[in-house]
Each structure stands twice: as C-alpha cells, then as structure tokens.
C-alpha cells in the first residue's frame, strides 16, 4: 500500500475524538481499584478494632493524608506519562512534598520518643505484614491501570508502569489505613512507604514488558 493510500484510509477514520479520556479513565480505574481493595480487605482482615472511633484521632487523618497525597502524585504522573512527549512537574513536586512531610513528622516524633520506645515506634506490631498487605490490595487496581495504559501511548514504559504502581499503591495504602491501627509516624514513613514502593517496583517491571504499542 502506498503511503498516500494509507493517508486517505486514515482520513476516512477521522471522526471527532472525545477529549479528556486519559484523566477520566485513570481516575475511574484508580477509584475502582480502591473499591476492590476495600471489598477484599473487609472479609480478609477487617476494619481496625477501634473503628469508627478512630475517625476522631488526628493520626488517622495523618495517615490518610499521606497515602492519599501519594495516590494523587501517582495520578498526576501517570496522566503525563501516558502521553508521548508530555512534560509535567506537578506529580514529582507532590511526591517530593509527601515524602518530606512524612519524613519530617517521623523525625520529629522520634526526637520526642524515649530511647526505650523507639523500637516500638518504628516497628510497631505489624511491620512484617503491612507492606505485603498493601501490595496485595494494590494488585487488582494496578492490573486495571496497566491495562488502560496499553490503550494510551506511554513512550517510557518502565516509568509509566512505576507511576501506575504509585497510583494503585497509594490507593491501596489508603484503604489499608482503615484496617491498620498503628499510629506512629515513623511506622507509617517506613512500612507504608515500603508497601507502596513494592507496588511501584511491580508496576515498573510489568510496565517494561506490557506497555508496548
């Protein structure tokens, strides 16, 4: 087929294109992924025992704010990385801000913690389970977002997959905050972040293989 013929053919397929499909899909799938995570979480590990009283606790909202901020950063990054040649700093800035905030809070709390209790503040009671629960809860959302990414045009597959992981991981960590009754900022800074990082790594590896077009 000569190139002119191809162009004529493509012009025949040139119907109007609905705008805004990328942010809409990403938002819908991220929300859906979080919903699935919730549906899995409740029968599996349940809400935290002090729910809903925990809603009055500021540390509950501190956790929510951190994980939701990560999720929002993932959304901004994924939305840009789904497009060829798109630049955007907002996602990176938000990610850095979240990391700095939780780091500062954790350092501040540790500074006020007596030496004997530092171990508990950092390790809590569930350090070995927390990251894995977050990863497990993130997987359905991650799969859905990667599947959507294939229909877009990411030119940096590994980075796009990582952003998908950040989005799904942030959402799952937010849902996990409804189960987990650890309140210390050092714990959240280390173990929630590790769970999100595991999801980012999974997304990056999957992205490098799957996101071809």
């Amino acid at each position: 087929m000569k190139t002119d013929e191809l162009i004529a053919l493509l012009a025949r397929d040139a119907g109007p294109v609905k705008r805004g499909a990328i942010p809409r899909s990403l938002a819908a799938l991220a929300f859906g992924g979080a919903l699935v995570a919730l549906v899995i979480m409740v029968p599996w590990i349940g809400f935290r025992p002090d729910f809903p009283a925990a809603l009055a606790d500021p540390t509950f909202w501190m956790k929510m704010a951190y994980t939701f901020g990560i999720c929002a950063a993932g959304f901004l990054l994924a939305e840009r990385l789904a497009r060829p040649g798109a630049t955007g700093r907002a996602g990176w800035l938000l990610l850095a801000a979240c990391a700095l905030a939780i780091g500062a809070l954790a350092a501040g709390q540790l500074a006020m913690t007596p030496a004997a209790e530092i171990d508990v503040a950092v390790m809590g009671g569930s350090w070995d389970a927390c990251p894995w629960y977050i990863l497990a809860l993130a997987l359905p959302g991650l799969a859905a977002i990667l599947w959507a990414m294939r229909r877009f045009a990411p030119t940096r597959a590994t980075l796009a997959g990582a952003a998908a992981g950040l989005l799904a991981g942030g959402g799952a960590a937010t849902v996990y905050g409804l189960h987990c009754d650890e309140n210390a900022a050092p714990f959240v800074a280390v173990w929630y972040s590790l769970g999100i990082a595991l999801t980012v790594a999974t997304g990056a590896i999957a992205g490098s293989r799957l996101l071809r077009w």
Binding site: I7, L9, I22, T155
Partner: protein, 180 residues
C-alpha cells in the same frame, strides 16, 4: 521557523480532532514529508524499512490521537512518537546506538519527499484480517465508497462500518509492529 510549523500543524490537528477529515489528511501528509527526512537521516538514506517506518508512525499518530494534550506543543508529541518508533526499530534490528538527546527540531528540520516503496506491504497484511473486515476496508480504500455506500453493500449500519474500520486499523498497527 519552528513556531510557524508548530502553529500550522497544531491548527490542523485541532481541526482533525474535531472531525475535519481533510485537515487530518493534510496533517498526515505534512508529517509524512518530515518523517521521511528524519528517518532517512537516522537510518541511512537507502534503508529498506524506511517507508515502512513512516507508515507505522502515521498509523500510530492516527490511532493515538487522543493522547495529545492541546496545552502541550504538537511538535513535541509527534517527535516523541517518531523517536519511539525509531528506537523500537533499532532494538528490533539489534543496532546498538546511544540516541543523542534530540529534540523536536530534529524531526521538523527539513522536508525530503522522495518516497521509496515500502518493503512490508500493508496491503498484504490486510490479508490477515477476517474476510468481512477486509472486504469493508477494500471497499472504502480501493473503490472509494463512502461509509454509507459501504454500509449498504455489507448490510450494516454506517456506525458499525466506522467501528469496523477503526478496529481493522488497530489490528493492522499491531501486525505491522509484530511483522517488523
């Protein structure tokens, strides 16, 4: 002038996205000329795959139109696609090259319109489509039937014809990538 090119192509792209088929065709025609020159410089002027890569890039620009954000430069978007396809070609042909950090001005530098014949015949790849989809594509492409005429001939609605053609193009893009 780089900004003139950006203005012209961006206008055509916006009109094409609004459903103006003639603007879309003009955009693809303009891109073809830049793509040929760009790939010829990067792949070697007599590369057998040159026209194939041009066609593959045009298919990608068309099928992934909805990934362009109107608040970003069109030339940067188009260049990213061309570069992506070029790097993919290097990888498939196991050519080790550290791509220098180009920017969009590298694609829109010159216009060279010598067309070589495509090595991989897109027309032949159409043979892999199911008969009904292939017949529709042939009617619209070769016989120049309108969507309405092709729909009448096939006993389908016009909307169904459009969907079928769009899907066939997506299959073709996958095939082109897998064959190369």
């Amino acid at each position: 002038m780089a900004s003139d090119i950006e203005t012209r192509l961006k206008t055509l792209m916006l009109r094409g996205l609004g459903g103006d088929a003639a603007a879309h065709a003009e955009l693809l025609g303009a891109l073809t000329v830049y793509l040929r020159s760009f790939f010829a410089r990067k792949m070697g002027r007599s590369a057998a795959d040159l026209e194939d890569l041009v066609q593959e890039s045009l298919l990608a620009v068309h099928l992934k139109r909805d990934t362009w954000d109107a608040s970003q430069p069109f030339t940067a978007w188009a260049f990213a696609i061309a570069r992506y396809k070029l790097i993919d070609w290097f990888r498939r042909n196991r050519i080790r090259r550290t791509e220098p950090i180009d920017d969009a001005s590298d694609l829109f530098a010159s216009e060279d319109s010598t067309e070589l014949s495509a090595r991989q015949d897109l027309g032949k790849l159409m043979g892999h489509l199911p008969p009904k989809q292939r017949a529709l594509l042939e009617d619209v492409k070769l016989a120049g039937l309108s969507h309405a005429e092709a729909a009448r001939k096939a006993g389908m609605t016009e909307g169904a014809v459009k969907v079928s053609i769009h899907r066939s193009l997506q299959v073709l893009m996958k095939r082109v990538r897998d064959e190369n």
